[in-house]
């Protein structure tokens, strides 16, 4: 049996749902669509269609890469639980990547990627993105958007972008999950209830 070089990439942390299947770094099939609060309906349905179209099984995968936030709390959990389950039940290596890095990878230059978190705040990340690779320039954070913009230099800002997986493969932004069970989304924020409890 030849060694598998196929990879599944998932991200459901933003308004867009992304599913890609790659042979090394070449896309075989990709799904990238604006959702309507329906990632839970679409993710496994579209994923099944991609696997069927390629006549593939989960066991054909060399790795699963999942966007683990930050972003929509409910959204990110849908992608993460699917990735964890597929990886655990079929013993496929699991990697996590920032959902902001996935978003930024579709652009070039110094890219500020952000997701609206209301009250003028955002989940944001700053990346240096070339045609072939990318790196993070700052730690990702939940902060006041305009204040942050005043303190950093960037070429463009974005709130969406079709992932360019090749750049991520050439980056150090993928993290191998040594314990699949322990993988959890990066929320960057405690729940309101926890914050209230801590304030007491």
């Amino acid at each position: 049996m030849s060694q598998s070089l196929k990879h599944l990439v998932l991200d459901s942390a933003t308004d867009y749902l992304y599913i890609g299947i790659f042979e090394e770094d070449k896309p075989l099939r990709e799904y990238y669509e604006l959702g309507h609060n329906d990632h839970s309906v679409k993710l496994m349905d579209e994923l099944t269609k991609l696997f069927d179209a390629l006549n593939m099984k989960v066991t054909d995968l060399a790795s699963i890469i999942v966007g683990n936030g930050p972003g929509s709390y409910t959204g990110v959990r849908i992608g993460v639980v699917v990735a964890k389950m597929l990886a655990w039940t079929k013993d496929v290596p699991l990697y996590t990547v920032s959902s902001l890095a996935l978003m930024a990878s579709g652009h070039t230059g110094k890219v500020l990627a952000w997701i609206d978190a209301r009250r003028n705040h955002a989940f944001l990340g700053l990346f240096e993105v070339s045609e072939t690779s990318m790196k993070a320039l700052d730690k990702e954070q939940y902060t006041h958007l305009d204040t942050y913009k005043d303190t950093v230099a960037f070429d463009k800002e974005t709130t969406s972008g079709k992932p360019n997986i090749k750049k991520l493969f050439n980056s150090n932004l993928l993290t191998h999950a040594t314990h699949i069970h322990a993988v959890a989304p990066v929320y960057l924020r405690q729940t309101e209830a926890e914050r209230n409890l801590n304030d007491k």
């Binding site: 839970s40 709390y73 039940t89 959890a184 729940t191 209830a193």
Partner: protein
């Protein structure tokens, strides 16, 4: 037929392996109760965050304890609602991914059907039967003329009985969850306060807001007057009134429908006073309350309900199956 059950509608992450709608090969329940106690109740976003940390490891334990592999499973049955939407979606998407990867059909199962079928674990349903569903979110009477046939006769017009227990436990400062605390305290004393008569529109409907408000107002008045509160006597008075309401309505439903059996389902079925009153008043029909371990949320009951759902209607759901915070039992 071997069914893998998945339940994540509230604050328990649970996966089970059951056989032929009867035998429990494993039932792993990870309860988040200690996490939520700090908040005085279940916090939905906290619950969802706990579910995703535990989902795959609970799957693994359930398979290991049942001594089976994914290949042995014939059906995946997952709670599709009602419940907390964020929590439901973790279980549903995890179950979908597991079913897809292992090429197993999947069905979404109603959470209340699960609670009802917890009675099938140690008892055998005989039809027609009346099911009293009592929990933090439900208080209803259901007529079942056959397996997996549900006809709602009546329900609460306002609060669920479990909700009233939790709120009264809060004003009496008995902690969370309130049901077991009131039940324990009530058993130490006879009622020392009078409770109002409960009135409802329909013969099989319930109402708990009046009783709840009466107790809360009573406590507030006593506090204002700086008079001592007999917590045990009050818990006892409330519990007797709350349970009598359930028993009276259920007796009428059983009588009117000529039911052969009366069963209790849902978290409040663990209430000791309710269990003893059922035993005392329903001597003329067969009765069942679930074993204590299966009164609260668990995946074994979902697997058993799923088995009967699939027997009646052997059609699997698609990968588009979704969660529903509100959902009718049909």
């Amino acid at each position: 037929m071997i069914v893998l059950g998945v339940e994540s509608s509230c604050d328990e992450t649970s996966v089970s392996v059951t056989q032929d709608g009867k035998t429990i090969l494993s039932n792993v329940v990870f309860s988040q109760i200690t996490t939520h106690q700090a908040f005085g109740g279940v916090v939905p976003e906290v619950a969802s965050r706990e579910h995703i940390k535990k989902m795959t490891v609970v799957f693994e334990e359930a398979l290991q304890k049942a001594k089976i592999t994914a290949k042995d499973i014939d059906l995946v049955a997952v709670t599709k609602g009602p419940g907390l939407i964020g929590s439901l979606l973790v279980g549903i998407n995890g179950a979908k991914a597991f079913a897809f990867a292992n090429d197993i059909p999947i069905i979404g199962v109603h959470h209340i059907a699960g609670h009802i079928y917890a009675n099938q674990i140690e008892s055998t349903m005989e039809f027609p039967l009346i099911a009293l569903v009592v929990s933090g979110g439900h208080t209803e009477l259901i007529l079942m003329k056959d397996h997996y046939s549900f006809e709602k006769l009546g329900e609460t017009q306002d609060d669920a009985v479990g909700e009233a227990y939790d709120k009264i436990a809060r004003v009496l400062e008995l902690g969370y969850p309130g049901g077991p605390a009131i039940d324990e305290l009530a058993h130490t004393k006879a009622p020392t306060y009078a409770m109002p008569r409960i009135q409802t529109k329909g013969d099989y409907d319930f109402s708990y807001s009046g009783l709840k408000s009466h107790v809360i107002n009573l406590v507030n008045t006593l506090k204002m007057k700086k008079e001592p509160i007999d917590k045990a006597g009050l818990a006892s008075a409330f519990q007797q009134a709350a349970v009598k309401h359930l028993i009276d309505k259920s007796l009428k439903a059983v009588e009117d429908t000529h039911a052969k059996m009366f069963i209790v389902a849902g978290g409040v079925s663990a209430n000791k006073h309710l269990r003893s009153e059922v035993e005392a008043h329903f001597t003329h029909v067969k009765t069942s309350v679930p074993p204590f371990a299966y009164c609260t949320d668990n995946a074994a009951m979902m697997g058993i309900a799923g088995y009967y759902q699939y027997q009646k209607n052997p059609v699997s759901d698609s990968m588009r199956i979704n969660g529903h915070s509100r959902l009718n039992l049909e």
